[in-house]
Structure formats: structure tokens, C-alpha cells
């Protein structure tokens, strides 16, 4: 199956290289994303998973399918959105028409490598693909004509890549470990999972700690999240949505995979779990307090990503099957909600040419849909029912409560602060009325509106109606991970 998808992806890359018009390139990107979704759906329904490719270096199981499906969905919506958004960026000169090709090439490449990363069995291969996604993300951030974008892009590259190097140290440790215990060195996840019990605990935990550091940077865990607020706020909104809703997942995915290995070994499970929870709390803390003072819309949303990554870490760290189940569902919930927020914020960004709190006025009148998207998205992300995040957040908290009362109280308090940060910001921008303001309405293209509407429906619809097939999928993921 993978070969068909790869064919489609390369075709998309090639077509983009040769096509000239924006519309066509955009269509190709949309088609690519649809192919990705179709790929995931086929995998899920054909019952072909788990499946191996390339001498067991690639391995697609239920978790990969799930993540690919989420990535495909977000890319699809982002591609539709980009069609309108990029055009308006060109109009004001911040994006050059001749860079469009680069934009779409990176867009397609990003999706390709994301899918490959999720399909990797070999952890080193995963590392390489993850680094490639970093590369293309950085490229997409830097494509706009502004020194600040270059700055943001550089920050993203440096922080992520340096942290990822430590990750590689972890990989080497792991490899040496397997060489020692199994005879031949391997980084194949399935083998590792099977044999984790026989590994000596201390090196396993150490390798986990190092690998964690890199993936933490990828998923925006404090204190490695620092580049993300810049990256999110400077990138075109379609790209911001992708970084937050997909790149973050890559990091969390990596952590989940390696944690599942250490979890098998009774000597390392507890120490690794403590590490995850400690970083989770730290992320929540930093994010919550940063959000309170935030004056920039996209940065606020960026910190919220750190907050949720922290929550996911805590969920993973608790490590009961139910906690993992809900953390996985939270990944989906977070991706959809975050995409909604970024895409809505993108429309406001086009209207005011700014993300700053003081520049946004009369938003409800000028951009009702984006405002609705932002308000509903904010309510959703802070976990107000009936949004999907409420269910996942609540369920994770249930597990936290069973784990430790103090942790529960800390998490609740920090979530409250984060919610307060959102409330402060949202009320501030939407209550700013200036009767004398003569700003013209930005004619939002339909292509930018459609994804927002779809996302609102998804975010609230999924909160009320749990898709039953997902239950089986999530359960098989959890059991596949050995929890």
C-alpha cells in the first residue's frame, strides 16, 4: 500500500515542479492530502496492518495509521486554506509569486516526510525523517519576506536540531544496548518492544532520557518550546496550523513509542514516567504563566500547544492503558482544535495585518466567521463542553486523580490559569470597539472559510458523538504499544 502512496507523493512533487499556476499547485497539494487520507483509510479498513516494508525498517501499525490520518486531515484543510491565504499574502507582497513553487514543494515534501516518519520502524530512520520535517518546516517559515521570519526560522532550526542531536546520543546508547544484549544491534521498534524486558534498566532509561530531549523539542515541551511561539506567529497561518497540529504530534508520537519500550522494563518504567510527568508539569507551568501576559494572538495559541503537550506528557507518563487511550484521543482533539484556532487567527491576521492585541478592533463586525471560530475554538481548547477537548481532558484528569492528588491539583490550577489567559485575551480583542474606525473588511476567500466551518463542526460534533470505529482503533493501538 505504501508504494502507491509514495507514488502519489512523488507525482505530487513532480507535478508541482512543472506546474505554473497557483490554482493547479494548490489542487495538487489538496490531492496529495486526500491521497494520504485515503492511504490511512485503506490501511485501516483493509485489515492489512501491521505491515512491514524495506526489510522491516518501515512498519505501519494502528498508531501509525491513526497519526497519518490526523496528519492527512490537517494537511487537507491547510491546503484548502492555503489556496486563498497564499494568494492574499502575494497580494500584499509578503510572499513572492516565484516562491510559490518552493512553498508548495515544501508543503508536499513535509507531508511526505511526515508520513514516512510515522511509518518508520527503525528509530534512527524516524529520527532522520523527523529532522527532515524540521528542515521543511523551517523552510516554510522562512519563505515570507521578513527578517523576523528568518529569525523565527533560525530559532526553530537551532533549538530543534540541537536538541535532536541529544536524541541521537540516546539512539546510539540504545543501539549499543541491543548489541550487548541481543548480539546484533538494532533500532527496530518492534524488536525493541519485544526484548525490552531483557535490557539492563539503567542504560535503557538513560537512552530514553536523551531521546526524550529531542522529541520534546519537536513537540514543544518546556524548556525546549521557546522557538515555537516565534515560529507559530511568523509562519503563514496554514503552516502554523500544521506545525501545531502535526509536528507536535510527531514529537509526542516519538515519545510514546520509546516510552512504550521502557514501560516493558520494570526497572526503567517508573523513572521514565517521573521524567515525563516532571516535564509535563513544567510545560504546563511555563505555558500557563506565559499565556496570562500574552499580547500576541498566535503566540497565545502557541503557548497553548505547549500546555497541551504537557498534558499529553502527563497522560503518557501515567501510562495506564486508559490514560494512553485518552491521550491518543487528546492528540486528535488537540490537532483539530488547534487547527481551528490557527486558521481563524489567520483570517484576523489578514484583516489587521497583525496578531497584536492592540490592533484588533471591531472584529465581531468585520470578521464574524473568524471571530466565531476563534471564540468557539478558545472555548474548546480550554475544555468547555461539548467540545471534544472537554472529554479528553476530563478523562485524562480522571487518570491523574487516580495517580496522585497533588498532581491533580497542580494540573487543575495550571489549566485554570491557561484558561484565564485565553479568556483575558479573547475578551480583550472582541470587546475592543472603535466606532470611528474606518478599516475596510478583508474579503475572506471562501477557501479560507470552508476549513474553519468544517473544523467548528468537527470540534463540537466529535465532542457530542464519539465515532464508534475509533474505539476499536484506539484500543488496538494501546494494546499494540504493549500497555
Amino acid at each position: 500500500m505504501l508504494q502507491y502512496y509514495l507514488l502519489a507523493a512523488f507525482a505530487a512533487l513532480a507535478l508541482t515542479q512543472f506546474l505554473k499556476s497557483h490554482k493547479a499547485m494548490n489542487l495538487v497539494a489538496i490531492a496529495h492530502a486526500i491521497a494520504c487520507i485515503a492511504f490511512a483509510a485503506c490501511l485501516q479498513y483493509s485489515g492489512a496492518i501491521p505491515v512491514y516494508y524495506l526489510e522491516n525498517n518501515l512498519y505501519i501499525d494502528a498508531l501509525s495509521t491513526y497519526e497519518i490520518f490526523i496528519a492527512g486531515t490537517i494537511f487537507l484543510l491547510a491546503a484548502v486554506y492555503a489556496g486563498g491565504h497564499a494568494e492574499s499574502l502575494i497580494k500584499i507582497g509578503i510572499l513572492e509569486r516565484k516562491n510559490l513553487k518552493g512553498y508548495y514543494l515544501s508543503f508536499n515534501a513535509l507531508l511526505l516526510f511526515t508520513v514516512l516518519a510515522f511509518s518508520s520502524n527503525n528509530l534512527a530512520l524516524f529520527w532522520i525523517f523527523a529532522e527532515l520535517t524540521t528542515f521543511f518546516t523551517a523552510f516554510l517559515i522562512a519563505i515570507l519576506n521578513s527578517k523576523k521570519n528568518i529569525d523565527a526560522s533560525l530559532k526553530y532550526i537551532f533549538v530543534t536540531s540541537t536538541a535532536m542531536l541529544f536524541s541521537f546520543i540516546g539512539l546510539i546508547l540504545l543501539f549499543a544496548l541491543t548489541e550487548k544484549t541481543l548480539g546484533t544491534g538494532t533500532l527496530n521498534w518492534d524488536v525493541l518492544l519485544k526484548n525490552a524486558k531483557t535490557f539492563p534498566a539503567a542504560p535503557l532509561a538513560a537512552s530514553f532520557a536523551f531521546m526524550f530531549l529531542g522529541y520534546a523539542a519537536k513537540s514543544g515541551i518546556a524548556p525546549l518550546h521557546t522557538s515555537l511561539p516565534h515560529a507559530y506567529s511568523k509562519a503563514p497561518s496554514a503552516v502554523s496550523a500544521i506545525i501545531s497540529a502535526v509536528m507536535l504530534n510527531i514529537g509526542i508520537y516519538g515519545i510514546l513509542r520509546i516510552y512504550s519500550i521502557t514501560r516493558q522494563n520494570p526497572g526503567s518504567a517508573a523513572t521514565c514516567s517521573n521524567l515525563l510527568i516532571a516535564f509535563g508539569i513544567l510545560s504546563l507551568f511555563i505555558a500557563a504563566f506565559s499565556m496570562l501576559q500574552q499580547k500576541n494572538l498566535k503566540k497565545l495559541i502557541a503557548f497553548s500547544s505547549t500546555e497541551h503537550a504537557g498534558l499529553m506528557l502527563i497522560g503518557i507518563g501515567i501510562g495506564t492503558p486508559i490514560a494512553i487511550y485518552w491521550t491518543l484521543y487528546h492528540v486528535l482533539a488537540h490537532s483539530l482544535t488547534k487547527a481551528l484556532l490557527f486558521l481563524s487567527a489567520g483570517i484576523l491576521n489578514r484583516q489587521y495585518d497583525s496578531n497584536k492585541i492592540e490592533n484588533i478592533k471591531n472584529a465581531l463586525k468585520l470578521q464574524p466567521l473568524a471571530s466565531a471560530g476563534l471564540i468557539l475554538g478558545s472555548l474548546a481548547i480550554i475544555g468547555i463542553p461539548p467540545a471534544i477537548v472537554f472529554i479528553t481532558k476530563f478523562s485524562i484528569l480522571v487518570q491523574v486523580a487516580k495517580f496522585s492528588t497533588i498532581l491533580l491539583i497542580a494540573v487543575l490550577l495550571l489549566l485554570l490559569l491557561a484558561a484565564a489567559g485565553f479568556a483575558l485575551f479573547i475578551t480583550a480583542i472582541f470587546t475592543r470597539i472603535d466606532e470611528n474606525d474606518v478599516m475596510r473588511r478583508y474579503p475572506t476567500p471562501v477557501r479560507m472559510k470552508i476549513p474553519v466551518i468544517i473544523l467548528i463542526i468537527l470540534v463540537y460534533g466529535l465532542g457530542l458523538f464519539f465515532p464508534q470505529p475509533l474505539d476499536g482503533a484506539l484500543n488496538s493501538i494501546v494494546s499494540g504499544l504493549g500497555f
Partner: protein, 241 residues
């Protein structure tokens, strides 16, 4: 497989390891960009020599390939690219230090090596076959941390790139002594690295200079896109002022 016990010529390798650290310290303290690149070249060369020495002592061909790969990429290709970019941005010195002065960095390094030594004792005892390998692994991690020190204590992006490369050398050193990864992985990692370094270096053109320098520089380069970017920048700056 690396044979256990002290390989032949262990002292020789130990000396090489120390020299690697010295080049690292050199990178930490020097202000002259060209000599930084040269130091990096030397460091990479030393690494490949170590790889060859290890090959000589235990005869794993992979090490030889690795040495070749290192020489082509890190001694020739990457330094060439960096030097070219350095010429373009016309700066030759990175004077400013952030957080740590060179002497402080060196001092910090001493403690860091101690820390690494202490931290890895338990783990490496279980994994590494002998004292020399243990030392090599510790030096590898230390070199990585040293590279990290460079990335945050030096202002110019181009220096940071060299810091990043030093880190990567540290990782390489670590892997040389601890185990040997599949060669395919090493190649892919190298390509990855190359792409990222190149992107960072290109982007650094946009940031590594004051506004006045920026104008001269970009007029000289005659890259229309950059020029336009500069115009944009000036407009922004004007607005902000």
C-alpha cells in the same frame, strides 16, 4: 565488532582524543571566523584519523567508510560551503560573547566533563568494552556539550552553525567508541545534517550583521530577492522607529 580490551596503539588514540577536545576549546575561544572553520576542519580530520586508527586496531571496514565519509563531508564539503557564505556576508570576526566569556566557557567545560564522567559511569560500565572506549564516549558527550556552549555563547549565526557542527562531531565521536551504527543511517544523517546546516547558513545571511553592513553587503551581492527583503526590512525598521 569492536574487540574488548585495550586496542593496540591505545595511547595514540588517547592523544588524538585530547587533541579533539583542544580543537573544541579553540572553537570556543577564537573570534576569527576563518580560523574557526579551520579548527572545525582539523577536528573532523582528527575524527577520521581516530576512525582509521580504530579500524587498524580491530579491522571493522565500516570505520574506514565512515572515515571517508567524514573527510568528504566535514573536511571538504561543509567547510567549503561555509567559507563561501562567509565571503558573501563579508564578516570575518565574531567578537561578542553571550552569557559566558571564553575563559568561563573553558572553566565550565572542565566541570561538564566531570559531570559527564560521573553521569555515565554506571551506564557505560555496562555497555562499553574497555577503558579507552569509555574515555572516548565521555569525550564525545563532552564535545557535544562544548558545541552546545558555542551555540549559545556566540552571537553570529555562522558561529552557531560551527557550534552545531561541533556537537555533531561529538555525537560521531560517541558513536565511534560505543558502537557502530548501520552505514546507511550514517549517510542519511550526514545528508540531513548537510541540508540543515546549509539552510541555517543561508538564512544567516539575513541576520548576521548590523543594518549598515546589511545594506552594503546586499548591494554587493546583487541578489534581487535578498535586496527586496532588505527593502522590506528597512521599511519595517522605519516604521518601528
Amino acid at each position: 565488532m569492536i574487540a574488548s580490551g585495550l586496542p593496540a596503539g591505545g595511547d595514540w588514540i588517547e592523544a588524538l582524543l585530547v587533541m579533539v577536545l583542544v580543537t573544541g576549546a579553540f572553537v570556543v575561544t577564537r573570534k576569527d571566523l576563518l580560523s574557526l572553520v579551520s579548527a572545525y576542519q582539523l577536528q573532523s580530520l582528527l575524527l577520521s584519523v581516530i576512525a582509521v586508527s580504530l579500524y587498524l586496531s580491530n579491522g571493522s571496514e565500516m570505520l574506514l567508510y565512515l572515515a571517508v565519509l567524514t573527510v568528504t563531508s566535514k573536511v571538504i564539503l561543509i567547510p567549503y560551503a561555509i567559507k563561501k557564505i562567509q565571503k558573501e556576508i563579508k564578516i570575518s570576526r565574531d567578537i561578542d560573547f553571550h552569557y559566558l566569556s571564553p575563559m568561563e566557557s573553558i572553566t565550565a567545560m572542565i566541570f561538564l566533563i566531570l559531570l559527564v564522567y560521573g553521569s555515565f559511569t554506571k551506564i557505560l560500565r555496562e555497555l562499553s568494552p574497555g577503558d579507552l572506549f569509555y574515555l572516548g564516549a565521555v569525550f564525545g558527550i563532552s564535545l557535544t556539550l562544548m558545541g552546545m556552549l558555542i551555540t549559545f555563547s556566540r552571537k553570529k549565526v555562522i558561529t552557531k552553525v560551527i557550534g552545531y557542527l561541533t556537537m555533531e562531531n561529538g555525537v560521531l565521536l560517541f558513536s565511534l567508541f560505543l558502537t557502530e551504527l548501520p552505514f546507511m543511517i550514517e549517510v542519511l544523517v550526514m545528508i540531513d545534517l548537510f541540508m540543515i546546516v546549509l539552510l541555517a547558513a543561508i538564512l544567516s545571511i539575513g541576520v548576521d550583521s548590523s543594518v549598515e553592513e546589511f545594506r552594503e553587503k546586499f548591494n554587493a551581492i546583487h541578489i534581487p530577492r535578498l535586496q527586496k527583503r532588505f527593502e522590506h526590512l528597512r521599511k519595517r525598521n522605519g516604521e518601528e522607529a
